[in-house]
Amino acid sequence: MSDPAPITLDPRIPEGPLEHKWDTFKQEAKLVAPANRRKYTVVVVGTGLAGASAAASLAEMGYTVKSLCISDSPRRAHSIAAQGGINAAKNYQNDGDSVWRLFYDTIKGGDFRSREANVYRLAQVSASIIDHCAAQGIPFAREYGGTLSNRSFGGAQVSRTFYARGQTGQQLLLGAYGALMRQVDEGNVTLYPRREMLDLVTVDGRARGVVARNLVTGAIERYSGHAVILATGGYSTVFHLSTNAVNSNATAVWRCYKRGALFANPCFTQIHPTCIPQAGDGQSKLTLMSESLRNDGRVWVPKLKGDQRPPAQIPEDERDYYLERLYPSFGNLVPRDIASRRAKEVCDQGRGVGPGGLSVYLDFADAVKRLGEPVIRSRYANLFDMYHEITNENPYQVPMRIYPAPHYTMGGLWVDYHLMSTIPGLFVAGEANFSDHGANRLGASALMQGLADGYFVLPYTIGHYLAGIGPGAVADKDPAFDVAERGVREDVSRMLAVNGSRTVREFWHDLGRIMWNKVGMSRHEKGLSEAIAEIQSLRQEFAKNVRVSGAEGDFNKDLEFAGRVSDYLGLGELMARDALQRRESCGGHFRDESATPEGEALRDDDHFTYVAAWRYRGEGQLPDMQQEPLPFERVHPSQRSYK
């Protein structure tokens, strides 16, 4: 293949000062008149916070919406599992918060690897999200006077996190789901549950629909529209064991990448510090314990290597509260990347606790002494119960044991300021895009971003796009749909025909081990190169030796997973390649070769202040990497300090 023409990645950021960019965009955006909106169809894939809020908002405006999800109901999307909260720059606590401060915390938290304009807009719309969700009747925590409560989250020195017990994601999602179902009732949204998107269809270079498999009948179906929104979440399941749901997957974004959408910063993955450690081999997922626990829990390990005493028998002066020691001003509430890395470090030193020395204590004894058990119970009861249930240990009596686990992916499909990918008409929202969190996401910012994209950004930017293309008929009879459908059928038949000797899950397990060991919390040149070679050979073996059971035209979970794992094998390699080219440490991406003497991530701003956007060039070809420079006009990237 000849060298492809380089793409100029135009982020389409409006002119003018940072504070006015979003207003400028809204003032200049083209509009579609209310009576014309129903002539436009938007296909929305995914019904998590971003997808459900986008679908509902567009339908409220009058657009015709087709909404697809893989679960039996839109309400099951994995946003539902988010526990701790959602940030907003309301300054209800009178503690100095502002749009600027939320913007700055987010940029800094992301280790200066995100776009100023996008993040500023996120902070600007954050307050409207809380207004809207409160109006939806979401039972946020309240003060006795009836006003909204806040709690603190990592990486911030103000209290700006709104929450509904430990089930904030659930409540926000049910709010968006309710809004979506109201539009279903009004006939503006048609719901297609149990559909898995397997390809994107482009006509004359524009996204015009998707091909999906009906997960009950196995039928391959076509969904056409004037634009497509992908809100299909992140790709932490590449690691096999993660905090994600078992059906969370990367297939939709990966297949769009193969259709020409660029994939940005795939190596930016977040390993969450407070998860319940792995207990055995047959385990299917890891369970997160909300970051909010670090408000009251103290993280420690014994000072002595290999100290086997039960925690209660280790005296105070023989404990190392290492986060409080290393980061006196943020203490236990340092950002996730730092907390995870330090946990790994103390375990690598042989000071970890529990089976295999692969965990650290999160201790509530002081908080219980100070506040009493009822207060702790009122704050965290469901989390403590969940922990007790899983580990058979009572965290009111003994410290929790926690260890980091893959949780969130900051990387995703490249999008411009309009949230449009490099394929015109393909918009990407929520965790599926790369836009706002740079190299590390702060706690309580994922819910904020998903809902910002869906409720308050896409309704404007999609209108602008649709007004530009006109409402001409979109037919799913177009030959492009035939081609995509044929490709999907061939893929499915090919996997079923291999009839090899290793199960889909075995391959997933093997890939997860490579990713965790070599593309996980710390990475180096040699390990990454080995990972690429190992993944390639695993991928070849998958093609020759996978065993997929059952039939095509049936409810067939094994077949669903086979397609997903096949895509993970491609994406895992791309993650390793991206990690290899980024010879600096930043946020969750830690290269052993690039650390400060204190062991903090050492950025190389001269060489790596860019977004790495990867372009697919065909099977067996190396992808090429395009750079979008990140000019910082208002903030000055500095060595992140939480000391």
Partner: protein, 255 residues
Amino acid sequence: MTTNGHTYTLKVWRQPGADRPGRLATYTVTGISPDLSLLEALDVLNEDLIRKGEDPIAFESDCREGICGQCGIVVNGVAHGSKLGCTTCEIRMREFAPGSTITLEPFRATAFPIIKDLVINRSAFDRIIARGGYVSINTGAAPEANAIPVARDLAEKAMDAAACIGCGACVAACPNASASLFVGAKVSQLAVMPQGHAERERRVTRMVAQMDAEGFGNCSNHGECEAVCPKEIPIHVISRMRREYIRASVKSVLG
């Protein structure tokens, strides 16, 4: 850890499709660690079946931490098993005596047709929510969030009801296959929150009508729903739904 695990007998409902006959099939699983969840034990069994060229057991789950509501199996005769306040995915194998037999059947109700094996169709719940399980407010129309104060205990009460995960265990456990706990939970949340007041009559009337239309039975106060609810939604949400319904009926007559 799995090498010295335990052995269990699983009796599992197998049914190829809604209109095909089903039966209980018996399997043995070995090497099961007490820390595994019941669904992970099913994963282990399915791996075995796949290796042997047999059709794996179709069952559903997603979050595997008790919040998405996707899983739902009748375990030894009880929806989500006999342990209180947990979903099927939260059941650990340490709950069962080593060597014991565990029977797994789908949630059964006319309104929840079986798709395959343990997988059912619960879309009736979505259609009920579509008739009013929300506050009708468009994006962009909201007042300042603190403009409407909500007393703390009311917000807590609303949250107790809002915790519903839509799993359908209440229906599976009810001798009448009533969906009253599910509908009552949403009606209660929005009847308690002041934001829901503008359309409370319309909401309860439409949701109850849809519940009836879907073929769910009536509530006759058995209380089985509350007993199996993994989120321990209190049964008084049903009384509140009735009060709301009567209030709406009286209002429609008296104006």
